[in-house]
């Protein structure tokens, strides 16, 4: 070590640390200020938001105000308003002298009261205090003394100096009286003033009301209110606290979202552009300040009650940063739903709703929920609420077994009691025991009733159980054998829009699966059908309503719905005989299936018991053991009640639909090789084919997929991203390379990290085996989920549905939408409406597009009238009893079934769905509830018409201005060719009287686009009177004439109708109608109906004057 020169001063004592201290202190002070800043702003970024909001919103309000003033001026310049203003002026001018007088007197009285009050309150306080002392005095003598003193004191005179300078003296009682008298006077004056002002304020209120009624935006006054509010904004956390009803100290939810989203509940519509800084693009502030896009939803779900995070998720308590508040970091388990999946939040409380539409909202989630059922996801994946019938069947089965056991036990016990009773020592105890035995026997009869109900339930459940795919036991009868392996290879190659997903099978698997299916299929022959008329079949197919579910044609040529199969190439796969049978009644099975014996019951089983081989919905018990049989094909396809001939025609048409000849398929005779069967069984089990299809030997198989009821709550660690975990976490790219599958991704190839439920679901749905990529696995270990070939929109819908499928235990039970009233009927009904695709033909809510409405054919005005009826107010229209009957048998006849029961003129027939009793019950309640009708329904009494009224009504009914029978059917085939409206004879059973009365007034309001003309009745002196000319007998009739007509219709007898229709001038179809484009023979061509409602009203008007 080099020797340092020794310093003169001791370095330890002389060295100065001042500089170090200065630096360290500066650093410490700086860090202190940093801490203060961090506390005030760094950790409270919402403060800045609130400042910016204040600036931007007041700027916005300024423009809103000028607009509002402008429009207020416009409103105020209207003559109505001017008139009111005049009145106001006049009235106030008139009353002014009186008002002034009253004001003066009130002021004067107030001054006097004040003068008296000053003295009086002082004295009264003294009296009160002394009284208290007297009351609490325990010594009787001093009590008496004090009382005497007080009485004496009260006689004293006190001086009051009045404002006019005068002085008066009062003793205590006089003072009190004077005080009260003055007050009474003032009250009287005040009420007088109120009376005088009343008419004036009334006009003023009227004027204000007029302004707010006639202004689209807020009034300037309201805007001023908002401006004042904005001015008063001082930095504060705005929070919604939802208390826990059971534990008030610990709220369930504290949502501070509105600390930044300040505009969300403003009464004005605020867009990002509105809230952007002047002349600049919307920044993060502008985007945060928008008002809620769907105020209607917000009204239903009041944030004060539901908070924000119930629907949107995110971390409601966090205020330190946007990421924290939105919960979009790895440790917050309920991140904000992205905009495109925002409807996932609905599912938390609305899991019981199949259809969730409110305005523009709810389309995505409803689509997701529907697809989950329709595309057969539920075949493999359990999900509470979906496909519950098999489980319920097992439940009822179990219950029946228990009850039967109980019956046996009861009998045993009863026998024992009787035996004991026989040996009882005395009568009393013997009787007691006999009673016990009797009770048990009565119990048994009750159990019998219960078992019967369960049997019925079982029957309904058997009927309600449906499969997404066809019954594969019938493929020998149904299919071209050589087509099967081709189909299995890749269903979308044959039919692009099929529901059947692609299973990525190798040749070995295809061969063995096809062989198993072929060899286990039923070998019973089916009857041969004669060839039909393909041209007529085509017409039937296109007009009967098949296209509401099925589609035909590929690409741009495609017509029809996507609920069922596209039949463009059906001729390549199907056998003609089977098609005829299927078209005639798709529910008809080759053999019934007994779930108890687990076998298909054939004629030999029936013969054993000497029974005829007949099974249908009325003969559903097994000949061997009396258990309930599955007698229907488990398809939702209804019967269109075609005649055998029509069925042959349709089948003949369908069999012509092909791109290549069925014989050109390569031979697949290996399907008869018994050696392949065992292998095939293994693969069918592996891929869970029985989830969607009925397959011999797999009837009891359950879904092979994971349950998805709470998939949205699954910890991300439980989802296997396999080799792409890091890629997903770091956003290093897109693993899906197949261009077709890549195009399915709703958000496009991944650019950002996608390690989230959303990312997983989307990738899984776009390419289900993507997480096998790069893995070395045996065929049985590979991911089994097939590719459902969805569009990006469909994937988004299902992803939204799954993201919302969460564990809801943290959400208060009261938030769950599980109504017990009629709204539950609506919830339950939608499941059935979607299950059978009723929406393909019928409109249930305004704006809903049916499949038929969108078809080219129905754009033609003539065909438009051929659209099936709208069911917007069906529940209010028809009686539930009738609806029950109609749903069970839409032909409303057991003999003449090839027709529509209500609207014979429609080419589209309401099919027979063979609903179970349960489903009919649910549907009827659904329609009643949808129209807010009470259940059960007690029919209204329609008062009987007097003879005079009958005459009057008849004259209306047959009047030239409204010739009812011209359009309404009468049952006379000649007439009904042209008369297309329902027969009046149906009305009595079918319709609700009150609805008919309303319908007669304005049909367009009830069913827009109906042919029934509006304007038949007009309002006159408080009554509805006929708009056309009326005979003199109507003079002095003081009741509603629409009700008169309704009562007449409800009492119409067939004879009367027949007589009247004979009288009706039947003007044949006008000549111009002959050139009409509707090709049908049963075309209706009534001139009256062709007119637009406006024409009709004009015609009526000219007639009446």
């Amino acid at each position: 070590m080099p020797e340092l020169p020794t310093p003169d001063d001791d370095p330890i004592t002389s060295k100065s640390y001042a500089l170090y201290y200065a630096l360290a202190t500066a650093v410490l002070t700086a860090s202190l200020f940093w801490a203060l800043w961090d506390e005030a702003y760094g950790q409270r970024p919402w403060k800045e938001y609130q400042e910016v909001f204040q600036q931007r919103y007041s700027a916005f309000l300024k423009t809103a105000r000028s607009k509002s003033t402008q429009s207020q001026k416009e409103v105020e310049s209207s003559p109505d308003y001017q008139k009111m203003e005049q009145q106001y002026k006049q009235a106030s001018d008139q009353a002014t002298p009186q008002i002034n007088k009253l004001h003066d007197s009130i002021t004067d009285l107030s001054a006097q009261i004040l003068a008296v009050q000053n003295v009086f309150t002082d004295k009264r306080a003294y009296v009160s205090a002394v009284t208290y002392e007297i009351e609490t005095d325990t010594d009787p003598s001093s009590k008496r003394n004090r009382q005497r003193d007080l009485a004496k004191w009260k006689q004293q005179l006190f001086t009051v100096a009045f404002p006019d300078g005068s002085r008066k003296k009062y003793n205590y009682e006089q003072l009190e009286a004077e005080y009260n008298a003055l007050k009474d006077q003032r009250t009287a004056a005040n009420s007088q003033l109120g009376d005088v002002l009343k008419p004036i304020t009334a006009i003023k209120t009227q004027m204000d009301q007029y302004v707010s009624d006639h202004m689209a935006t807020l009034t300037p006054l309201q805007v001023t209110g908002l401006e004042n509010k904005v001015e008063d904004i001082s930095p504060a956390i705005h929070q919604i606290v939802i208390p826990d009803p059971r534990n008030s100290g610990n709220p369930i939810m504290v949502d501070r979202c509105e600390s930044c989203h300040l505009g969300i509940r403003e009464p004005l519509k605020l867009t990002a552009a509105d809230m952007a800084a002047r002349g600049q693009k919307p920044d993060k502030y502008a985007r945060a300040f928008v008002s809620h896009p769907d105020t209607e939803l917000l009204d239903i779900h009041d944030p004060e009650k539901f908070g924000c995070t119930t629907c949107h998720q995110g971390n409601g308590r966090a205020t330190t940063s946007m990421v924290k508040a939105h919960g979009t970091y790895e440790h917050w388990l309920w991140p904000l739903f992205p905009k495109e999946n925002v409807e996932a939040g609905c599912q938390n409380c609305h899991s019981r709703d199949m259809v969730l539409i409110s305005g523009n909202a709810g389309q995505v989630i409803s689509e997701g929920k529907f697809l989950f059922e329709q595309r057969g996801c539920m075949g493999c994946h359990k999900y509470q609420g979906y496909n519950s019938e098999p489980e319920e069947l097992r439940g009822t089965d179990q219950q029946i077994k228990q009850l039967e056991q109980q019956k046996i036990d009861n009998l045993k016990m009863a026998a024992e009691y009787t035996h004991e009773g026989d040996q009882a020592p005395d009568n009393t105890s013997a009787n007691l025991l006999y009673t016990k035995a009797e009770t048990l026997k009565v119990d048994n009869s009750k159990i019998d009733g219960q078992i019967h109900q369960l049997d019925l339930e079982t029957r309904d459940l058997m009927r309600d159980t449906k499969k997404v795919g066809p019954n594969l036991k019938e493929i020998r009868a149904k299919l071209n054998r050589n087509w099967v392996p081709v189909w299995l290879h890749k269903p979308t190659d044959f039919r692009r829009t099929t529901k059947m997903p692609n299973f990525r099978l190798n040749d070995e698997q295809i061969r063995s699966i096809a062989a198993y299916l072929w060899q286990t299929a039923l070998k019973d022959p089916i009857p041969h059908a004669a060839p039909g008329d393909a041209a007529h079949g085509k017409e039937l197919f296109e007009t009967r309503g098949c296209l509401a579910c099925h589609s035909i044609g590929e690409g741009d040529q495609r017509q029809g719905g996507d609920f069922a199969a596209n039949l463009t190439r059906v001729g390549e796969k199907a056998n003609y005989d089977y098609l005829v049978r299927w078209v005639h009644n798709p529910r008809q099975r080759i053999r019934p299936y007994c779930p108890y014996e687990k076998k298909d019951i054939g004629p030999e089983d029936y013969a054993k018991h000497g029974l005829t081989y007949a099974f249908d919905l009325d003969h559903t018990t097994c000949p061997n053991d009396g258990h309930e049989l599955q007698v229907e094909n488990m398809t939702v396809m209804p019967s269109l009640r075609l005649s055998q001939q029509d069925a042959q025609d349709v089948a003949s048409y369908l069999i012509t639909l092909k791109e290549k000849d069925p014989s050109s398929y390569p031979d697949a005779s290996y399907m008869d090789d018994p050696k392949l069967k065992a292998e095939g069984e293994k693969w069918i089990r592996q891929f869970g084919c029985a989830g969607c299809h009925e397959i011999s030997g797999f009837e009891d198989d359950r879904g092979i997929g994971t349950e998805l009821t709470q998939e949205g709550s699954k910890p991300i660690e439980r989802l296997d991203f396999a080799l792409f975990t890091d890629m997903a976490q770091r956003g290093e790219g897109e693993p899906i390379t197949d261009p077709v599958d890549r195009a399915r991704l709703p958000e496009g190839p991944a650019k950002a990290p996608w390690y989230s439920l959303k990312g997983f679901f989307e990738h899984k749905l776009a390419e289900p085996n993507i997480f096998d990529k790069g893995m070395i696995k045996s065929d049985t270990d590979k991911l089994r989920m097939p590719n459902p070939h969805l569009t990006p929109e469909q994937i988004r819908a299902i992803t939204t549905f799954l993201m919302g499928s969460e564990d809801t235990s943290a959400i208060p039970a009261a938030f769950q939408y599980a109504p017990e009233d009629a709204r539950r009927d609506i919830q339950e009904g939608w499941w059935i409406v979607r299950k059978y695709n009723c929406v393909g033909c019928h409109q249930f809510y305004p704006g809903q597009q049916t499949v038929l409405m969108g078809m080219k054919r129905y754009q033609d005005p003539d065909w438009k009238e051929q659209l099936p009826p709208k069911l917007l107010t069906e529940g209010a229209r028809v009686s539930p009893q009738w609806l029950t009957k109609f749903l069970a048998n839409p032909a409303l006849s057991t003999t003449d079934t090839n027709r529509n029961g209500v609207r014979p003129y429609l080419k589209v027939h309401m099919p027979t769905f063979f609903f179970s009793d349960h489903e009919i019950r649910v549907l009827v309640r659904f329609f009643q509830a949808l129209s807010k009708q009470p259940m059960p329904y007690l029919p209204e009494q329609v008062p009987v018409l007097t003879a005079k009224e009958t005459d009057m009504a008849r004259s209306l009914f047959t009047s030239q201005a409204a010739p009812c029978l011209k359009c309404h059917a009468t049952g006379d085939p000649q007439h009904d060719k042209f008369a297309t409206a329902p027969n009046f004879l149906l009305a009595k059973d079918r319709l609700k009287p009150n609805w008919v009365a309303r319908w007669l007034i304005d049909p367009q309001a009830i069913s827009p686009g109906t042919s029934m003309p509006s304007g038949l009745f007009r309002q006159q002196s408080g009554h509805w009177v006929f708009a056309g000319p009326t005979p003199p007998s109507f003079q002095g009739y003081e009741q509603d004439q629409n009700a008169l007509l309704m009562r007449y219709i409800f009492q119409l007898t067939p004879e009367e109708q027949h007589r009247l229709s004979g009288m009706m001038p039947r003007n044949a179809a006008p000549a111009k109608k002959a050139s009409n484009s509707v090709p049908a023979k049963g075309k209706r061509a009534s001139g009256t109906l062709r007119r637009s409602p406006a024409d009709q009203a004009a015609a009526l008007g000219s007639g009446s004057r």
């Binding site: 070590m1 340092l4 020794t6 310093p7 003169d8 001791d10 370095p11 330890i12 004592t13 640390y17 170090y20 201290y21 360290a24 202190t25 650093v27 410490l28 860090s31 202190l32 940093w34 801490a35 961090d38 760094g42 440790h331 917050w332 388990l333 910890p715 660690e717 439980r718 396999a722 080799l723 975990t725 890091d726 770091r730």
Partner: protein
């Protein structure tokens, strides 16, 4: 080389103290060594020249008239300490503002984190669990460490080195500390932080922490290598090996200690000496066991029905 992974580990708020530990340890050790060597030189100088020792109180400068022989604690020591306090406070403030506590989601017993790591100061203990049974690594060894630290004042008979840094005068104690703490303990903490990934598997720095990584590794017990199958045989064999280690180790330490630390050896009683040897050998046993496990895949040496080592 997965830089992303490396950065993720280094930048985790949990690991800030450990990342800081490395340079800080190096710096302060170097500083201490520098001072100790300066002192050692001075000691050598003064021993050679006892005259100088009378005038020389400070290690860097000789005595000068006017200089105090002793200086007061206040202000001369405290002003430095207070300066340090200010600096430390500033560091803590900046740290606490800029890095939030690494809180995670609410615990879910169905989903445990992987890897689940102890706080940094316990990572050494957690790493020991790889090499020993839980109750040895978690109970016996920590107890021995604490007891061992407690007995240090009683077995340290060397009076030198009070109040100044020195290497020469305390070579043995400093060496033991350097080995036990600076090397062994810190290394285990670093392994626990940077090396152990999901499944507590060994990932070299820069290797991706893949949760589904599979490795083939079979661990054997030492008796198996020698073909001992009977339980009794294993007990006896293990006792012989462990006993042999302490015996043989005792001889080696005896030979070396007597040769290199004769003064210490002479000053120590038998009890002090044997306690020292026991703790020393136990401490050295840890890296030996680690080596056996990591390099030779040997799980246990001594297997008994009651405990395994």
């Amino acid at each position: 080389m997965d830089w992303h992974q490396l950065w993720e580990i280094v930048s985790a708020p949990d690991n800030v103290p450990i990342v800081a530990l490395v340079p800080l340890l190096i710096f302060y050790t170097a500083l201490a060594v520098k001072q100790a060597r300066a002192n050692d030189r001075l000691i050598a100088e003064l021993e050679a020249n006892p005259q100088e020792a009378k005038t020389r109180y400070r290690k860097a400068w000789p005595f000068k008239p006017g200089w105090q022989k002793e200086v007061h604690v206040w202000p001369f020591l405290l002003r430095v300490e207070f300066l340090a306090a200010i600096i430390v406070t500033a560091i803590l403030m900046v740290w606490s503002i800029s890095l939030n506590a690494p809180l995670e989601e609410p615990s879910n017993p169905n989903v445990t984190m992987n890897p689940a790591k102890a706080p940094w100061y316990f990572l050494g203990l957690q790493e020991m669990l790889v090499y020993f049974d839980p109750w040895i690594a978690g109970v016996v060894m920590p107890t021995l460490i604490i007891v061992g630290l407690m007995v240090v004042p009683y077995i340290d008979t060397n009076p030198l080195g009070n109040g100044y840094y020195t290497l020469r005068q305390r070579r043995f104690s400093i060496g033991t500390f350097a080995f036990g703490f600076l090397f062994l303990w810190v290394t285990m903490i670093l392994i626990g932080t940077f090396i152990r990934g999901p499944g507590w598997q060994w990932f070299w720095p820069g290797q991706t922490w893949d949760h589904s990584r599979l490795i083939y590794e079979v661990n054997r017990d030492l008796p198996d290598l020698f073909g001992i199958t009977s339980n009794m045989g294993k007990v006896v064999f293990g006792a012989v090996v462990v006993g042999g280690y302490y015996l043989l180790g005792g001889f080696i330490v005896f030979a070396l200690f007597r040769r290199h630390q004769p003064k210490d050896y002479r000053r120590m009683s038998l009890l002090q000496y044997s306690i020292m040897v026991f703790f020393l050998l136990t401490m050295v046993g840890l890296p030996i066991k680690m080596g056996l496990r990591l390099a030779m895949h040997i799980k246990y040496v001594w297997i008994t029905p009651y405990f395994n080592i």
